[in-house]
């Protein structure tokens, strides 16, 4: 199930999508893109995206202490939302 996200999260998501599309990236890479924002803010943002179903979080195959993030395609988000509406 995909939920709506706050506008401020959407703005940051759009920036990450522009850079990574649906290819996996690390926290550090995201931090490099989201200049001037601290780790705390980015963590909360990822948490919002994860809870709302806008990002996939997996463990890094090479180092399981690390996480790898993959953004869900916005088109898929829209389609899922439409399907959810039809179901209900």
């Amino acid at each position: 199930m995909i939920n709506a996200i706050p506008k401020w999260v959407w703005k940051r998501y759009a920036l990450l999508w522009k850079k990574f599309h649906d290819t996996p990236f690390t926290f550090e890479k995201a931090q490099k893109e989201l200049k001037h924002l601290d780790r705390n803010l980015i963590s909360v943002m990822f948490n919002e995206l994860k809870t709302a179903g806008w990002i996939k979080v997996e463990l890094d195959e090479k180092d399981t202490r690390k996480r790898v993030y993959t953004l869900i395609n916005p088109m898929q988000v829209v389609e899922s939302s439409e399907n959810d509406i039809k179901k209900h």
Binding site: P6, K7, W8, L37, D38, N40, L41, V44, N47
Partner: protein, 368 residues
């Protein structure tokens, strides 16, 4: 202006935030006010003949400690008190203490400070309470202090947020039930004593119900920009703990080494933090340019008329104040709306303001 009472207008059970209404001889006002402090007073004094001033019922004078002379600078009191009375504002003056000064504060020194300010004819007379004071030790001192005041004067206990945490709750709760105003000089949210004490303040404040009489809680000396917390506005961060009237830490160039002073005076607008209402926090020109594609600080300065007689720094501080106060006014409305729409205030914090949301989610206890 005579303070009649402060009553709870509405409590939001989801956030624990409260709207209080203070009734005075001049009318009524809601809480969540950022007081006119030393910096804003200087702006007003420069603008006096130009435009209307800040519509604000509270003026707070942070009294400077003159490092070179090892004494407090009481000279600013008369002029600022006069300005407050013309503007029909509550006037509160207190000595802005450093952590070191709080640590060494004894009752002997606190009483001298209290008597000095009482003799100056202040209506609200601050009494700084040393860090290791228990309720038992405080009560006879309190009684004695009140006996020295004129009936029109009101004692305002000032706590330090680093008060010994095992002693704080009892003494604070006593004052909560017996004072009209309580002030707290707030230090970093990374400090364990401060955090524990602020949570106790929030918990006590949250217990208030609509119609209850309540003290006004004054949050003092916090950092304007919370750099360790994604640069959220300090006023918002401390309001989350229940403070009603807020006044950030004042910095005096006169107390700084010459090199630092010169560096500050040469500061360019792009190095001055500007409040962004979309974020609920502060940023610099570089961040604005990166995300918005334009320098908002520069754009704002272009709209300030030279005739307003403010320096670039002052104009930004003035705008920062207005922006934060407007956000607090909306927050108050949203708290009141929770009477019929329970998520209204929480949604405002979590959905509409990035920095407020991050601070709220990572620092506030979750309520059901």
């Amino acid at each position: 202006m005579i303070l009649r009472n402060t009553k709870v207008e509405h409590t939001d059970n989801k956030t624990g935030l409260i709207v209080k209404k203070t009734t005075t001889s001049e009318g009524e006002f809601f809480n969540h006010k950022i007081a006119v402090n030393n910096v804003l007073l200087r702006c007003e004094q420069q603008r006096l003949n130009v435009k209307s001033l800040l519509n604000n019922p509270f003026q707070i004078n942070h009294i400077r400690y003159i490092n070179k002379k090892s004494r407090w600078d009481f000279e600013s009191i008369q002029a600022s008190m006069h300005h407050a009375s013309i503007q029909k504002r509550f006037y509160f003056a207190f000595q802005q203490r450093s952590r070191k000064q709080w640590k060494s504060l004894t009752f002997a020194e606190a009483e001298v400070d209290f008597q000095t300010l009482a003799r100056m004819g202040l209506t609200f007379v601050p009494y700084p309470i040393p860090l290791d004071t228990s309720l038992e030790k405080w009560l006879p001192r309190r009684k004695n202090a009140i006996s020295q005041l004129h009936p029109s004067q009101i004692l305002v206990p000032i706590f330090c947020s680093r008060h010994k945490r095992d002693l704080f709750e009892e003494i604070f709760n006593y004052e909560f039930e017996n004072s009209k105003l309580i002030a707290v000089q707030c230090y970093s949210l990374n400090d364990a004593d401060t955090l524990a004490n602020l949570i106790k303040i929030k918990l006590r404040n949250m217990m208030l119900q609509t119609g209850d009489e309540a003290p006004l809680l004054i949050g003092l000396n916090y950092e304007k920009v919370q750099k360790s917390f994604s640069r959220v506005s300090g006023s918002f961060a401390y309001a989350c703990y229940g403070f009603d009237i807020l006044s950030e830490r004042q910095i005096w160039l006169e107390n700084m080494p010459k090199e630092v002073r010169e560096k500050i005076l040469k500061i360019e607008p792009e190095e001055i933090m500007k409040y962004d209402r979309l974020l609920g926090g502060f940023n610099l020109s570089a961040e604005q340019e990166f995300y918005e594609g334009k320098n908002l600080t520069e754009e704002f300065l272009d709209t300030v008329k030279v005739t307003e007689k403010l320096t670039e720094y002052q104009a930004i501080q003035w705008a920062n104040h207005l922006g934060q106060q407007e956000d607090f006014n909306i927050l108050n409305n949203r708290i009141l709306e929770t009477a019929y729409e329970e998520d209204s205030a929480l949604n405002y914090i979590e959905l509409e303001k990035e920095r407020w949301s991050v601070f709220w989610k990572t620092n506030m206890p979750k309520l059901k």
